[in-house]
């Protein structure tokens, strides 16, 4: 995996909680089920926490707790599933979420620009090559008809 953050390839400090549900010391990305089951302990630990959601997850399911997350990762089960774009845009525009929104799953270099325009500031690409290409693709357009999500 190669991570792009704010138009640069960076080291990824985050780990997604796997099937064995073994936490690292901090910077864990958990899903909603894990959050709901372990909410109190997670809040008490005060460790930086990320939340993994699907493109069709309703913000209502986590928006009341969003202050506990330094990162929201939105999963793309397929690159043609565009729901994650609307979710990211909604988090930025409607809920004013200012921390990291990361695109994970099937993310292609040719989609990098649109993803960043709707509010993703981090993109997880499958390989280093794909990451480098995605960086190039971020500069393909110098003009846009739509305002960018902040």
């Amino acid at each position: 995996m190669t991570l792009i953050k704010n138009s640069e390839i960076v080291q990824d400090h985050w780990a997604v909680l796997d099937e064995n549900q073994a936490l690292q010391a901090d910077h864990n990305i958990i899903d909603l089920d894990y959050w709901n089951a372990n909410k109190d302990a997670l809040i008490a630990s005060k460790a930086p926490l990320g939340l993994l959601v699907q493109g069709d997850t309703s913000p209502d399911q986590f928006i009341d707790n969003i202050q506990h997350f330094e990162l929201i990762a939105i999963n793309f089960p397929s690159f043609v599933d565009g729901r994650g774009y609307s979710l990211a845009k909604t988090l930025r525009e409607k809920h004013h979420y200012t921390q990291e929104i990361r695109a994970v799953g099937e993310v292609l270099p040719d989609q990098a620009l649109y993803l960043t325009r709707v509010g993703f500031d981090a993109l997880e690409l499958s390989t280093k090559e794909a990451g480098l290409l995605a960086l190039e693709k971020l500069n393909e357009f110098s003009v846009f008809y739509q305002a960018a999500a902040n």
Binding site: D81, Y85, T90, Y114, L115, R117, V143
Partner: protein
């Protein structure tokens, strides 16, 4: 008409280079077929039966003569010397090479044209009334709003991977000439009591496998809120539209399954949070675009010379009666150019004809050409005194077939001859109908006949007064007939006549239908009224007793 500024031009140029790179990477094996597919589709490129097909946008059906000459040039340089106009006012080229498409796009960009989002699961070209700006019954010219929608929807980052394609049509007149009720969103220009311009918004219309007439979701949305309301609908659709079955992925299914009231609540909830944001249109935003659509420089003219020519020539009179329409400006007329000649598939035009139409537009109609939903062209601003000369020159190009609105002016998809989706051919049926009715079309009166080669319905058969749908039965081509559809301001789906008809019998069956109509009509009764009065049964009896 709208002219690109540096900003618009830069965007289109950068798009060409983006696609050039994507094509190169695909050809080098760096993009898989699956990955390349949505990218090429969003640039208008399909893979068809024989070759790729490239669909070029003609925004709201308005072309300059220079642009039409470029389409002629492209058809000659990259294709087989012809192009095909679609029911959504666009042009399709049936034989381009995939490798050369980036060059075609560059040629298009040089005349402020593109094929961005002319296919794929994204917001398509916005269509409109071909008589926008010239018809007397217009509330407000819809074209500036179409252009505003074009810009908002072009390369929209959030709505480029929708559940399915998304089509918007705008009408500025009470008489709907843009089939807005069978679009994902139909917009009707309205004025409120204070004279403020806005839109009635229809949602969930569409043809295809499940034809549905659009329903009103909002009776009046002020013009300043146009884009935020569209964005709210699109976001709701993008979030909740079905993605498990592509035949159930259009917004019409979402609206039906959710229920209009609930869907409306979802949209309005979304809208409330963005209504007063960046998408709000200011008067300046709207006026800037409106300035490109100010009335043309009409001269003071009258119809004296026209009357003279009408008195002298029967053939001209016939063309005038069938193929022209009144203009809101005295001394001017709208002239339709029929692309339904007996010698050519419906909607097709050769490169030479394109060149000549461009010349005629320069000579007679302010250098502008409109494309129509019925797959014809129109020169909308012709001085009445020039009509005779125009007719003569059109005649020389086989473009003066006096059949607008008649049974031979049919809408027809490319069918099995070109399309990989089709179950049956449509062009040869069209030819059979043309041969049968050419001599009697005008006498028969106006009948809208629409034909599709499969249930995807590109030929709009569901809303034809006579609809023909090609179906496959155990490898054979059969045809399902429907009667009584309408694409007017009160759109209606046609009713099935009975069981499907074998290919060889289709033209006879249409002939039977026309006979029943002619035998039963009162003086000036149109087809729809006769059908409504006598019902389907007499037509059924005649068609199925005979075969």
């Amino acid at each position: 008409m709208y002219l690109y500024n540096e900003f618009d031009q830069t965007l289109v140029n950068e798009r060409v280079e983006q696609y050039r790179d994507q094509t190169t990477r695909y050809l080098n094996g760096e993009l898989t077929e699956e990955q390349f597919r949505p990218l090429r589709l969003m640039n208008g490129l399909y893979i068809q039966t024989h070759a790729p097909m490239l669909r070029v946008n003609i925004p709201y059906g308005l072309l300059s003569s220079k642009q039409l000459r470029m389409l002629a040039h492209i058809s000659h340089k990259y294709d087989k010397d012809y192009g095909h106009f679609t029911t959504r006012q666009n042009m399709q080229f049936n034989w381009p090479e995939l490798e050369r498409v980036p060059d075609i796009l560059a040629d298009l960009a040089s005349v402020q044209m593109h094929s961005i989002q002319s296919s794929g699961n994204c917001i398509r070209n916005t269509t409109s009334d071909p008589l926008a700006g010239v018809c007397a019954d217009e509330i407000e010219d819809p074209r500036p709003y179409c252009e505003i929608i074009r810009q908002w929807s072009t390369l929209h980052p959030e709505f480029s991977y929708l559940p399915r394609k998304f089509k918007i049509a705008v009408s500025g007149s009470p008489k709907d000439r843009a089939a807005t009720q069978v679009h994902d969103i139909g917009l009707h220009v309205k004025k409120d009591e204070a004279g403020q311009v806005g839109f009635e918004v229809l949602v969930g219309g569409g043809l295809g496998r499940t034809p549905v007439i659009g329903q009103t979701i909002a009776p009046f949305i002020a013009e300043e809120d146009l884009l935020s309301y569209l964005e709210a609908i699109l976001r709701t659709y993008n979030r909740f539209g079905r993605r498990d079955n592509k035949y159930k992925a259009r917004i019409k299914i979402l609206v039906r399954e959710t229920g209009l009231d609930t869907f409306k609540e979802q949209v309005e909830q979304e809208w409330a949070s963005i209504k007063d944001g960046q998408l709000k249109l200011t008067n300046d935003n709207i006026q800037r675009v409106k300035n490109y659509f100010t009335p043309l420089n009409y001269e003071t003219a009258n119809d004296e010379a026209l009357e003279q020519h009408l008195a002298n020539s029967g053939a001209f009179r016939q063309w005038f009666q069938q193929n022209t329409k009144a203009h809101k400006q005295a001394g001017y007329h709208v002239a339709f150019i029929s692309l339904k000649s007996p010698t050519c598939p419906p909607g097709d035009i050769t490169n030479v004809q394109m060149e000549r139409v461009a010349d005629l537009a320069d000579q007679f109609s302010f250098g502008q050409i409109r494309t129509t939903h019925d797959q014809n062209l129109a020169l909308t601003d012709v001085k009445s005194s020039d009509l005779y000369a125009l007719w003569q020159q059109l005649t020389a190009q086989k473009l003066a077939t006096a059949n607008i609105g008649t049974i031979t002016d049919m809408i027809c998809c490319p069918g099995l001859d070109f399309c990989s989706l089709a179950n049956a051919s449509s062009i040869d049926i069209a030819q059979g109908i043309t041969d049968r009715f050419t001599d009697s079309a005008i006498d028969t009166g106006n009948i809208s006949l629409k034909m599709s080669g499969c249930m995807n319905g590109c030929g709009h058969h569901s809303i034809g007064e006579i609809g023909i749908l090609g179906v496959d039965k155990k490898g054979e081509q059969w045809y399902q007939l429907t009667l009584g559809g309408s694409d007017s301001h009160q759109s209606k789906l046609g009713e099935r006549l009975g069981k499907a008809i074998a290919k060889d019998d289709v033209v006879d069956a249409i002939d039977d239908i026309v006979h029943v109509y002619k035998a039963n009509r009162t003086d000036n009764e149109d087809f729809a009224s006769t059908l409504q009065r006598i019902g389907l049964q007499p037509f059924k009896d005649k068609v199925y007793d005979a075969h």
